[in-house]
Symmetry: C2
């Protein structure tokens, strides 16, 4: 697949590198290509010559599947810059969490309980097929789940479009995930986004981000 | 220990029965003893002759450890009826979740993100030693965790008093829990209470409440 990964941070880099390794044609989208090339991204890019870099608009325009790997507060602006027309009809895998670090650690959520970032994105871009996933674990485990307990832990998908969820599930399985749980429609993303406060406290307590939850049943 | 279990529902019954089975002196506290005796509780009580029944006040007054097994909306009224003086200096194990079923299923949370029911209870009863725990799983698993995957799943404790957390942890271990994770101070209860939306969606999806999460690390 031609995949656009919006966001140059650790999540974007992890997803882009893994998808490229699996044979996908991957382009990272960034607001300012020259500034990104001049920054810390350069060292990573040198190690991943197969991953392209383009503007948010150009990356999304050319993609079949778009990954939102921006920050929670940056998501709507980045997707707006990518352009509604460039998202229309496409699977939009949303990994962002609506974290507010304004009051320090642990952050709170900017949207919760009766709404979610994923639903906001879907309302703003009604022609995109938004699927929420991967937001409940650290970046390396998203793409290399077998690193931990040989993959014996869970990942969730939420979305209104079954075919889009099947495509995302296929990608997750190719990453190594063995327990992909389809929670239902996109409003179920409230549940996974609201897991972040527990995740963040576990992170503080376990002194590592290398953990995940398994739904034992 | 002398344990008061406030609440006559499934959680209260499960905790009371298990604690009595383990040799504790258990009294269930209810708002109206006569009405409870005349209701559905009677059949359960007949099978658990070792568990006492008393008013909220009397049950709490006589207890060393008090369990809040009431509903989220009923918690502050029930604890107020139990009486601040009867909670002072005691471990108060809070299992309740602040669920609002006003708009049907799934319920939303009445408090979240920057506060929690557990913290509200602690503020209202500053002399009690509130410990949040067990609220992330179904009643039977709270007290018989070995029923599922031989206990290979996790339970959390949150609280400001280390000795109170040790007492609760001891009780959990006696129930059969093998992975008790101390998340830290009582504000970490925001994380476990905010796990309920995910729990409820999993409940809807898995068609059973007989599941729990394991923190794989």
């Amino acid at each position: 697949m031609r995949i656009a990964v919006l966001g140059t941070g650790s999540v974007g880099q992890a997803v882009a590198a893994r998808a490229a390794e699996l044979g996908h044609q991957v382009t990272i989208g960034t607001r300012d290509v020259a500034a990104t090339r001049a920054g810390a991204y350069a060292a990573w890019a040198a190690e991943h010559p197969g991953v392209g870099l383009a503007t948010l608009t150009a990356a999304a325009a050319d993609a079949e599947l778009v990954v939102n790997a921006t920050s929670g507060s940056g998501s709507l602006p980045a997707l707006t810059a990518a352009g509604a027309a460039n998202l229309a009809g496409k699977v939009l895998l949303d990994i962002a969490n609506p974290l507010d670090f304004g009051a320090g650690f642990p952050p709170t959520l900017t949207v919760h309980n009766t709404d979610s970032l994923a639903e906001r994105i879907q309302r703003e871009f009604p022609q995109a097929k938004v699927v929420k996933s991967l937001n409940t674990m650290t970046a390396e485990l998203m793409v290399h789940p077998r690193r931990l307990a040989d993959g014996a832990h869970s990942v969730f998908v939420s979305g209104d479009d079954d075919e889009a969820k099947r495509i995302v599930t296929g990608l997750l399985v190719s990453f190594g995930h063995t327990d992909v749980i389809d929670l239902g429609d996109l409003s179920t993303a409230r549940g996974t986004e609201m897991m972040l406060p527990l995740w963040l406290r576990l992170y503080g307590r376990l002194d590592t981000a290398d953990f995940n939850i398994k739904v034992v049943r």
